[in-house]
Structure formats: structure tokens, C-alpha cells
Symmetry: D3
Subunit: 317 residues, 6 copies
């Protein structure tokens, strides 16, 4: 019996150090990165018994992915494939007004051909929770079908499902995303979404509270979590709205903030915490993530508790 | 027919990484750097057909300079020399109150012996614009004479001339600069100068508008551009004053900001833009430059347009 | 009028430093690499007026390729594309018995859709020589057709053609290669091939001299060059066999040795040298290449002459 | 049911890059290293279901150890301790005549206080094999006692025991080692030792065959494996001597060669191979190890098979 | 005759670059660090004839310490020991809310066994000033006794004594510190302490002025210097209170700020400056320190003067 | 009373890492390097009380030189100058046939204007030995005169003089060197020279023994030491020839081998050793030097003794 199963693509992230431009870079930093494994690592670090699965090429590049994920303590259960490539993304970090730019090179990744029957669906059936994000069905027609099957498998087995909308404009249009994602929502218990995606993709408007209520009403989600950027987050659950401000943070690497939030939110829910404490746990973990290089929240429960208790500040010696 | 010819020294810039002190550094980053090539690269990146020329030692160090400049797409037309060294400068980056310190090691560089007849003056005659800066005549008596000859050659051939005052206190005194530079001004159509140099070197006083007007009146410049640091820039042209605020930027490396501004200003003027749009183009490129390591604005027209349109912000994925 | 046009894919090469394994690497060195641009750079460095063309994605990654090639002094004439990715390859360097391993990630590169009519075939018609290799037709059906059209275009215009068999077992089988390549041979004047590929792919057997004669006889090549690894090279031309031993070298990076050889061979032929001196020039350049990191022979004519004259040895100070 | 349990200290290894001296180093490479985890990783990579355990400080440094080991796919079962430090060793690599120098800084490591009852001895009882080395009892009086208890526990439960003598002159004298180690031998089924340690520590003399026979006879080992450096290895088993020459290798990092040999030897024995094939498997893995930075044989079964089949040579592309 | 002798442990500081976590670091930066040598270097750089002494292991690691300290111009007079290890500390830098974390690994360092009679106490007797900090007696019972003997030796010889309370919560409790330190105070002329340590360790309360007066009154210090963080510092001397605000600074590495302050304060006092100018000198040096990587204020008198005169700002070229 | 004073230029050495070409390097390693300081450090490390002096620019670059030299334990006594630059040299390391190439950038270094009366000649008079090399008079006319004055000063005061011919073809012709150097020889007691320089510069021919005898006879040297590369060295002293073979070594950086030899030779002579033991000491230190990055022999007496005793081999742990 596992606490949490996540499914989705993990890429290799290639980034020039020290704000160099890709066009002139002579070296690249290499890290594993993907929404679903980011969430699974964050949850694992915080006490959840999680497993991540996907389809990876049977090559040093595919093993590079599991090697890093396992170094964080996560259990991985990949399907190894002789077909398909290892997805990558290039990221050029920069301050404003240049901004940080992402170039996906993930077409034809091994995972894009993953059918549900290849994946360890038994693990999903035996798990308390299942998580994937809106990136997964965006990657291929096969994965669109697979995502629906996995969500159905979970709900059919009584496994709770959490889903982060995670809209990526470089993968599909808002219209395409809306059509696909709303079909999946009947199998989703907990929806997480940035408020701007709720507006832009789902077409829901109004105050953030109104949006949360409308989402919950329309698609009958048990819980809706809206992330509000610097404003923190807000949840609708059992008809009630709970707000959580963001913790102050000095940002070293912003990528993966949302995944850290979701991973910690789920960890706290799985550990029996209520929505309010899960939001707080998520916000504290997200604040820590932003101080850490890479997509992944390499944190400890003590550190998260320290943020919540407003300790951990300055120099500890 | 070329759009723009620039002439001036390009050095090798040696800087310790990560705010280390020169006194204790064990490695140095190496980049090509020089006002006139900085301007030429910025203009080239933004669509200008530019060429840079200078006199370089016929050695791996001289080739190191052209190699980097050509990697940015710039055409170089160096004169290769068996005499003279490759100029360098050491730069130690630091926050306040240490401040960033430059040590020039450029005496006896090959370029300091460059006479006009050695240089490809035909390219200047056939070009629409010619650019050099006040650094060039400061480097040697020969270059002082060469600078005057080149400016005369340009105006004689109907090539427009742009000149950045670029006062460097480590090269000469304000008095020496004033005497030399004001002799050149009769051949200059567009003068660019920091407002503090107009005061300190040229002895012009008053409000920034008054200074611009006074400069234009005294030396009959077609256009005067005053750079005002965080206040942006201001131009006097056809009797009118145009102001351009600076775009907000997160500074990674401030060196070369002024050259990025001038290169983009000229690119836009050459492309037919008016002074106002050239100022805006210059300011946007300058803001981008500050996010980029090194002296040089490795930018694209889309990025500059994005700054002007206030796009390009946050993380694009 | 250009001396040499080359067409073929240039990839980004990603390699872990210091013999690290890909599976555990945290950084990768990044360089441009491709047989046809390797050849073009080597020729350019040695005085040839060469141009390389291909189809590249209109992205920082595509510009990364031209940026590096132009830094070596090569003229590039890419077709920029909104479709297709930037091909890459990963290379893990290791001594024996681990050996050096290459993982291609070049499927669906922009170049794989390049049709002859998109490419600057006019440059080929106006050039003295045209070069491509057996890698190009192996990359896609479109490129197989394109390769034939380009070779036909060249011979039709009186442009001499050189072709390196360059068999890659990770791209196709010997049988598939044989079928495709032998169809192209009627348009080829100079064939270069490793002797083992002549045996393995073309099925020619016997002593190396016999193989060279048999290749020349069967496909009526003007010149056949066999590379023999540590044994050097051998050419058949005008019915005569010329042998060239390899120069001794301390290998730092063996990749691109053959391309350095071909680039220098062609440079010397273009400069009017006979086959014997071209072989010698090729062998000397190949020896230098092996001391240089990356795929590309960043050399000077003086250095190549120094190897031939047995100078350049020890420490020069 | 596990195939193999290993127990012993894993240190953090700190080494200056590029042959720098420790006295002048400004950065250090950081890796996990320890005979027993080296053996366990090598076995795991080759298909064995292995687990490593030890006592580690409950700190980022202790987690640094398990993080790296798990990245190689090894299961770790550490006891976390609030007492004791993380052992380290500094290693300065150099060619002859400087030689490679090790400075241990492992006194008072958490593991030195590990008592058998703290460790997961149940895992040993349920395992097919147990492995530790002569380093473990050398580290403290407590560990001397613990080692004996663990070996006794294993043999009592029918778990086979393998033991590498691994004499370290910086930890104890030959006399002290002899006294302690020979007391343990009654619980050891498979003894591995360098021939020079058999002579120097155990005082056995003669030809290598004679030494192996004498060791087997005196202490009734089921199997004795003598490692002979460049001469390969030799085993005595069932009264027979089997010899295995070393595979040729280009050494990048020699540390951990013996552990790679043992890990692969055990993996092959566990998989049902006979002593001869286990020796061959060990020798091939040892040869691969020497091409890999760090103490650990990050290899695949295919690579080991490739060495045995004399493939994997040159550049694979 | 020396101006200043300092005694105390200097460690090797190991820090992951670029905000990486220790748990996942693959390289560490290495620097010498210790309150008493930090103070001695700062003073030396500013014209004081200082010497630092301690007990170090006779190993490359011990020599690594003196090598770096001497590179800054400091005279070192270590006692070399065959016993005891080189103390280290690991530091993980991070922004809030992660915060910067220190892991000491200094138990059983060679210095912890240093008895006064081993150390060059003659140098203390012949020096104008002696300095140590509250870290020294916290390291071992031996060092507690040694510290008292050294302070007694100094005052007995007419050498002035300065003492920085430097409370470290990872070494001892406030109560233990109070008991030990207050016993030493009868031999202390100048006490420096952070105001929070005065409160937390010494139990003195009230306004900062009241605290300074109370400290001076209770233990009859000639001078009391309270450091107030961002508020600067305050001294009580001859019954008068002098305040010094902090200079603005952009912090690159905050470690060693207090030691830079003390070193410069003492340098100015030794040079004949009054308390007010010594405070100013200390504050300016502390501001510079924060821009410099590592524990140590590698500064020049000109730079400190520049901060006081509000020069040194921006880019100097 | 000092054992040894050396005078000569110390440069900053700039080298691309990992066999990169200067033309394409993006970072450079930075080290202090100069024959006379190399000799002084080697001697210091081996127990000699040595001091090095020269004229350096009063800048971070000049301090970079003394900082590094003092880190090795050497006493430096520089004259600080406001005129003249810091000499540098660029070195590109490569295997054959590329070979290692040096580009000097040392013209107009501060030292080139050093007159004897500026330098601490009192230290020479009070020293047992004085050393400089043939590089010093090659650097400027002033230094030619200064070298003669210093040598005269030494012999006048009874200080023994050692001189390494150190011919540098990039500084002067053999003829110019011969004319200048032979004028100095009347003040030289111990001449060291590579045998090829004796032939090429001094025009002495014959077997190596004949050359040594001829040198000793012609210029009445007390001792002549000929270095013979891989053949080791040979001395003529008191009419006797002593030979010393080279110790085997794995070369990491060959620069400074001769200086290491001379420094150790002098250290052993100063310590009372005879010529044979000094040659052996020199050869052992030279062998160690070749394993160490940089120009300087950072060695210990134990290590040198270990080479002589044929210990120190393999891995010590």
C-alpha cells in the first residue's frame, strides 16, 4: 500500500550557468525535472510513501533521470523502452527585462507512447492518492487517452485523485487544453490551478473566491486550490474558503515552486492534516524551494516546520 | 555599401568569477570588450550591416578577439600586426561599498600605432555611418591624429559620423580630453555623452536640457544624445528635446550599457526610425544588456521589441 | 565564386567533463559538431574560401551552431526553420575497456526535412568544389533525395564533388547504406572512406591497394582516398597509388580526425597541390586535431606546416 | 529475502581536481566512498538484490552519503545517529613519483560506536550472503566486537560470509590486524585478499598458489581469492586453483578497483556462476572501474559482458 | 616587538557553490577561517604588525591553513602537532527562509589539546596587544585553561587584551559560556560583544547604552564595544558612549563581518586612533568584508579610507 | 643573515584549462611564475632561508604575485612601483605535434626599470648565496646593467653566486645573449645551463663532459651544472665530473622543472651537501615538480627524500 503514485514525464533540464545566454554557452548544468516527479519528491521528503512512474528510454539518459530522483529518496518504477527519446528542456535564466526562457525539446519522448496497460496501474489501485498534471495529456494523443484511463483507474479503485492544471502555452492552445482537460475533471477530486489558468484556459471569471467556488460547483471537485503567485493560495473545500499568504523568500531558482507547493499540500493531507494546514505546509515548502537550485524541493520536515514557526532565519552556527 | 563602420580598440577582458578579488583569484573569465566593437555588435544584432576594424597583433590573442566578435555575427576587418601587444583589462566586480574596479593594461597595444592609411578607410567612405569614441584618441598620439583623419575622411565622403565622448579618467585628465575632443567635434554629426562628462570634461553646465542645447549650439551637432543613468536619456535634434526614461532592469553586468544604447540607437536611425524611436530602442537594448554577462549586448530584435512592448517578463514556457 | 560548399547536419555535442559518466553527470560541455561543418572549418582555416549550409531551427540553439562556426572564421549560410528541432549528440569519453560512447538525439532535426530547393544551390553551382558525407542521406528519406539532387546539381554545373562515406552504424545497416550510397557514386569525383567501411559497407575486399583500385574501377572515381587509422592514408588517382603515413600525435580528443583530414586534403587540392601533398597536409592536420578538444580542427597553416617540417615540438618560449 | 547485505563505513571523499595539491587547493570534489558500499553498488549494478547498512550522523553530511548511494540504485538501510561525525578522507591524486596520497579523517565517525544490536541484523539473517572487510574492525574496539557478532549472526543463520582483508596501514599495524582478523576467520566462508597483505599481515609465504592453499588449509575457507594487481587474480576453491588475468585498462581513477572486483565476483556467484566465471566477471568489472572517476563501479551488465567478449572498444557511433 | 598576537582555531571551511545543498553537492569550495586569524589578517592588512598562532596538524591540511593565511600577508607561528585533526566546518549558503547553515566538524582538532606552555607565549609578552575570542575556551577543557593562562600572561606582561565574546550556540549553552567567560573577564581590557549575546549569555538587559555601561561597570573593562548588526556599533570608554552607524553594503558573504570589524578597530587603536575613529574604521572594514567571498577581510587601507570618505562607488575606470 | 637571495621577474601565468586553445578559451587559470621565484620557493620548501625580490606594480596584480609566493612560505621583499605594468605570459598546453606554446606579454613590466640601487642589495650582501638567471638581463637595458651590478655586489661581499643561463629565444637572439651573458660570467661561481644552450648560445661543442669542462675552463666557474633533459644532469666541480640520471616521472606540467632542480640543488649545497647529493636532490625535486600544476615545486623534504629512497609510490592509505 503506497500513499501516493504520480505519473508524468521527467525531462533532463539543461541550463547555462551564471545567466549566460544559450547562444553563447559553453557548458550546461544538467538536472532531472518534471512536474509529477517534482511533486513526488517533495511529498517523499516530507514523509509520504510515494512512487513515481513514467516511460523512459533504456539508455544512460533515462538512467540519469532515475538516478537523480532516487538520490532524493524517491522510489521510481519506470517502464524502460527501446523506442522514443529522452525529453529535455533548455532554460536560460535571466533577470528582467530579459526574463527566463524555456525551450522544450520533448517531442517524441519515450513517454509520449506510454499506454496505460504498460504502466504499473496496480500501484495506482493500491495507493491512497494518485497525481498527474495537465502537462501529461498535452504531450501526445496517446498520453491524452492514457491520462484519462489512469484517472478512471484510480477513481474506480477508490484512490483519491489530485490534478494540477499546469497550462503550458508552448505545448497547446488554451482552447485545446480546455477541451481535453475538462473531459478529465469528472475523475478529479482535488484540482490545483493557478488563478490565471483558471481564467485563461477554463474561462472562469470573477474574484479569486468566486473562481474557486465556480470551479468547485461546475466540476464537483472535492477541493479546489488556487495558487495566486505572490498572494499565496486559496482553497475551497466543504463549501469553505481558506486563504494562505505566501512566505517571504529570496528567490534563487523559481522553477518548480508550484510543484513543491502541491507535493507538500498532498503530504500534509495524506498525513491527516486539514486543508488549512496543508495550504500552510505547501506555502512554506514553496518558499524553501525558491532558495534551492533546480526544479526540486530538496527539503526536510524540520525545515518546513522552521519556516512555519518563523525560525531558520539568519546564520545558524 | 555598408551601413556602419566602427573603429577602436577591442581588448581582452579578464575578470575573476563570483566576486573574488584579483589579488586572490585563481581563474579569470575571458571575453572580448571594446566600446566600438560593442556598438558594432549591438547594431549588427539589430539588423545593421556593420563592420568593425582595428589593428590587432597577429597572434592567438588577436584572433581570440575576432573569433568572439564574429561569433556574434559581426563582420570584422582587422589589420594584423607583428608589432604591439593585445590590450587587456582586468575587472573586479563587487557590490558597494567595494565597487567594481578596472585595471587597464592596454599601453602599447597594436592599435596604438594604427595610422589612418593602414586602416580600411575605403569602407568608411562607402558606409552610411561611421562611429568611434573618445577612448580612441586617448590611447596614443598616433591615434589622436588617426581619429581626426578618420572623422575627416567620413565627413568628406558624406558618411555621417557618430561619436561617444566616453571619458575615461584612467586614460587622461578632463583638461587633456577637452582639448583633444573639441578639436574633433567639427567632424561629428551625432554626439553621445553622459551628462556628467559634458559637465566634467566639456565644462557645460545647467539643466540637462540646457546642456544638450548648449552642446548643439556650440559645436553645431545635428544630434546630441545625453545619457542620464537611471534617468534614461535625452536628445536634442532639430531644435527639439526628446526624453526617454530607462527601462527597469535587474543588473547582472553593467559594463557596456552605454555601448548597447548607442548601437541600438544607430541601428534604429539607420533603419529609418526617428530620434524618439531610436532613443526608445537604445534604452530597451541597454536594459537587456544589463542582464547579460560581458560587455556585449547579445540580443535579438524580438527581444528589444518585447521590452518596448513590456512583454518578455517572468518565465516563458 | 566560392572554393568549397559543404552541406550537412551540424549538431550540438554534449559531453560530461573529465571522464564522468552520463548517468551521473551534473554538467555537460557544449560544442558544435558535424562532419560537413568540421570539413568546412578545417578548409577555411587553411585558406579555402568555404561556406557551409544546412537547415537549422530558428532558435537560440540553432544560433548556437552558427555562432560557434563563425567564431572559427567560417561563412555560414543556414536556412532558418520554424519546424524541426536542433539535433544533438551526447558523448561519454572513456579509456579502454569502457571506450567512448555516442548517443545520437538527432531524429526530426530541422535538417531532416531540407529539400534541395530550399538550400542555396546557387552557391554550389558557383563553387569549385562541393562536399557532403554519407551521414546526410542516412538522416531521412527527404535528405536521401536531397543529397542526390545536390550532387547532381554540382556535377551538372561543373563543380567537383567530394564525398566521405562516413558510415554510422547507429543510423543504418551496412546493407541500407550500400544501396543508397552506391546510387550516389555516379555524381562523385573524390571518394574518401575508411578502409573498414569499404569492406563492411561496400563489400570490397583485398589489400588496401586492391580495395582502392577496385573502388576506382567500379564507380569511376577520379580519386579514391582510403583512411587507414594508425597506418595513415592511401590514395588512388590517375591509376597511381600514393601512401601517407600518420604523424605521431598525443590524442586529447579523437572525434573529427577524419573530417580534419578531408578538410585539409581539399584545401590543399583547391590551392593547387597534388594528391601526395594533399594527403600529407591532411595527415598533418589530422594529427593536430587529435590534440584539440571538440570535433573541429582549429589550426593555422603555420601549425600544419610545422608538423610537416617536424617543428613545433616541445615547449616554445 | 535479500541476496547480499554489506556493513561498513562509507566516508565522504574530498579530492582536489586536476592533480592540484591539497596544500594549495581551492576546491574539492565530493563523493561517497567506502569498501562495503562500493561492493554493494557493484553487485547491485550487476543484478544482485543488495542492501548496505551502517551508522550515519543524522545531518546533511550523512544524507549526502545515502543520497549518492541510492542514486546508483542501491538500497540503503542506515541507522541515523545524533552522536558521532561523518567520516571523511582527503585524497590527492598524482602521478609518480609523487604518488597518490590519502589522509583519513574518520576517527569518531558515527559508525565507530555501532553495536550489532543497533544494526538491522534481521536483514543479515534473511540474506543469502553477508560481506564486510578488514577495515571495519580496524575502526574501533566497538566495531571489532560488532564485526565478530555480525559474522557470527550470519553463519548462525546460514548466511554465507565473504570478507576482504583490505589491510590499511594508516589504521593499524600488521600485527594488530593479524591478531584481530584471524579471530574472525572462523566465521568467514570466502576470503579475498591482496597477495601482499597475505604475506605482510597474515605471514603466509610462497608462490601465490601456495599462499592460497595455505590460507584455505589454515582457516578452512571455502574459497580463497588472491588479487595480484596487474597479474589479475587467483582462486582456491574445492581444492582447485583458478587463474584470471587482468583485462587491459586505461586508468583514470584506481581507487575502488578491488571493491569492484569483489562486488562483481559476488554478483556472479549469487547468480549461480562458478568460481572461474566469477573471477572473470570480477576482473572485467575491475577494469571498467579504473576508467570511472570515484571509488564506485557505475557499470552495467552489458558493459561487463562487452569487456569479457572484447567488444566495447574504440568509439561507438 | 609585535603589535598584536592572536590565538585561536583556524578551520578549513567547506561550502557548496551557488546555493547548492550540502546533501547534493558534488564540489566544495575550500577556505581558511577562524575568528582569531580573521582578526589578525584584517589588522595586518591595515598596517598592524600582527602574528597568529595555534596548534595545527603537521599535514597538508594544516599547511593549507598557514598557506592561505600567509598569502594575505599575515605572519603565522603555528605549533605543528602529530596528534589531533584539522578542524573543518561546512557551510551551506542560502537566502531566506532557508537561511545559511553551519555544521561544525571541529571536535578533536589539534588545537583542542594546546596547552599554554606549548604556544609561543613569549610573543604575547612582547606584544602590545593580545586577542582571542570566546570560541577558544568553548572548544575543550584544555583550551579553557589555556585561554585563562594566555590572558593572564598578557596582562602580567603589560600587554593589552581584547576579547570578543563570540557566542556559538552549537558549541555550548549560554549558561556554560557565562560561567567560563566571566571568569576570564578580569584579564580583559577591551570586550567586544554582539548586543544579543550580552543579553542572552551575560544576562545584561536594558537599552544598548545601558548594557554597555553595565558591562563596563560590572567587569571593569577599559572599553566595551557592542555590535548592533544593521544598527552599527557603540562603544563605552572613559565613561563616554560613542555610536557608529553601519555603512551600507551589498552582502556577498556575511561570515566574518564581526572579525573584520574587530581587526580594523584594533588596527586603528594600535595606530593611535581614538575609540571613535576605531569604530568608524571597524564599521567601514566590516562593510567591505561583506562584499568579499570567504571569512576574511582582504582589504587595503585605501579601500577603507574610501568607504569612510564615501568614495569607491560605482565603476572605476 | 639569509641563505639565499634571488632577483628576477615574476609574471602572472594565464593558461586555458584542459588543452583548450587560447583562440577559443573562455577562462584562464592564473598562477605566479618566474625563474627566480620558482628557485626561491623550491629552496625555501627544502629548508633554505630564502628571500626573493623584484620590482612590482603597486596594484592588485602585483599583490597577486606576492600573495601566491608567500602562500608557499617564501619571504618576499618587493619594491612597489607606480610605474610599469605587471608582466604576464599566456601558455597553451598541448601534446605533440601541437606542442606547448608560450606568448610573453612582459614588455614594460615594472621590473624592467629596476635599478640596483632601488633593490634591497643589503640583503644580497648579508646572504650566503645570490641567484639570478639569464632571463633578467634579457628583459631591458636597465636590467642588463642591474644584473651586472647585483652580481658584482654579491661577489664583492663574499656572497656566492649561482646563475642559470635560461636562454629564451622569444626574448633575444643567441648572439645577443652570448655577448651579454659572457660579460657577467666573471661574477658567477656556479653556472647552470641546459646543454643545448651551451651549444647554441655559448658555442661550446663536444660531448657533454667536454662541454662542462670547457665552460669551467673558459670562465673559471667553481661549479658547472649541465642539465640534459631526460638524461638527467652532470656537474663539473673541482675538476671532477658527477652524473645524475633523471628520476622517472609522469608529467602533468613540465614548466619550471629546471627551476625546481636549481632550487633543490642550491638548498642541498647550502645545507652542506656535496655536489653529488645536490644533483640527486635536484633531480628528485625536478621529478616531483613535473607532477604538480604550475611553475612551482610545492614539495616537502620528506617527499624529496621519498623519491631518492624510491618510496612514495602507488597509493598510500
Amino acid at each position: 500500500m503506497t500513499d501516493l503514485v504520480t505519473v508524468g514525464e521527467t525531462m533532463l533540464r539543461l541550463s547555462p550557468p551564471d545567466n549566460e545566454r544559450l547562444e553563447t554557452a559553453t557548458e550546461l548544468e544538467l538536472r532531472a525535472a518534471g512536474a509529477e516527479s517534482n511533486v513526488a519528491v517533495a511529498a517523499t521528503r516530507l514523509g509520504t510513501d510515494a512512487v513515481w512512474t513514467s516511460k523512459l528510454p533504456d539508455s544512460p539518459l533515462g538512467r540519469r533521470v532515475t538516478s537523480e530522483l532516487e538520490s532524493y529518496g524517491l522510489e521510481t518504477a519506470p517502464v524502460w523502452s527501446d523506442e522514443g527519446r529522452q525529453g529535455t528542456y533548455y532554460i536560460e535564466f535571466a533577470g528582467e527585462p530579459r526574463g527566463t526562457d524555456v525551450i522544450y525539446d520533448r517531442a517524441n519522448a519515450a513517454v509520449t507512447s506510454a499506454r496505460a496497460e504498460e504502466l504499473p496501474t496496480g500501484r495506482i489501485r493500491e495507493s491512497e492518492w494518485f497525481y498527474t498534471s495537465g502537462i501529461t495529456p498535452a504531450l501526445s494523443d496517446t498520453l491524452e487517452e492514457t491520462t484519462e484511463t489512469l484517472l478512471w483507474t484510480a477513481t474506480d479503485a477508490g484512490t483519491k485523485t489530485a490534478f494540477d492544471l499546469n497550462y503550458r502555452s508552448k505545448l497547446w492552445s488554451p482552447e485545446a487544453a480546455r477541451e481535453t482537460l475538462t473531459d478529465l475533471f469528472e475523475h478529479v477530486d482535488v484540482l490545483v490551478t493557478a488563478v490565471r489558468d483558471a481564467e485563461n484556459v477554463l474561462g472562469v471569471e470573477g474574484s479569486d473566491e468566486a473562481i474557486a467556488r465556480e470551479l468547485a460547483r461546475t466540476w464537483e471537485f472535492e477541493t479546489v486550490v488556487l495558487t495566486l503567485g505572490a498572494e499565496g493560495a486559496l482553497a475551497h473545500h466543504d463549501g469553505e474558503i481558506t486563504r494562505q499568504p505566501a512566505f517571504e523568500t529570496e528567490t534563487h531558482d523559481p522553477i518548480g515552486t508550484g510543484d513543491a507547493f502541491v507535493g507538500a499540500f498532498l503530504a500534509e493531507r495524506i498525513a491527516g492534516g486539514d486543508v488549512a494546514s496543508a495550504l500552510e505546509y505547501g506555502a512554506a515548502t514553496a518558499a524553501l524551494k525558491r532558495t534551492i537550485p533546480g526544479d526540486i524541493a530538496i527539503v526536510t520536515p524540520d525545515e518546513v516546520a522552521g519556516v512555519i514557526d518563523a525560525e531558520g532565519s539568519g546564520i545558524s552556527r
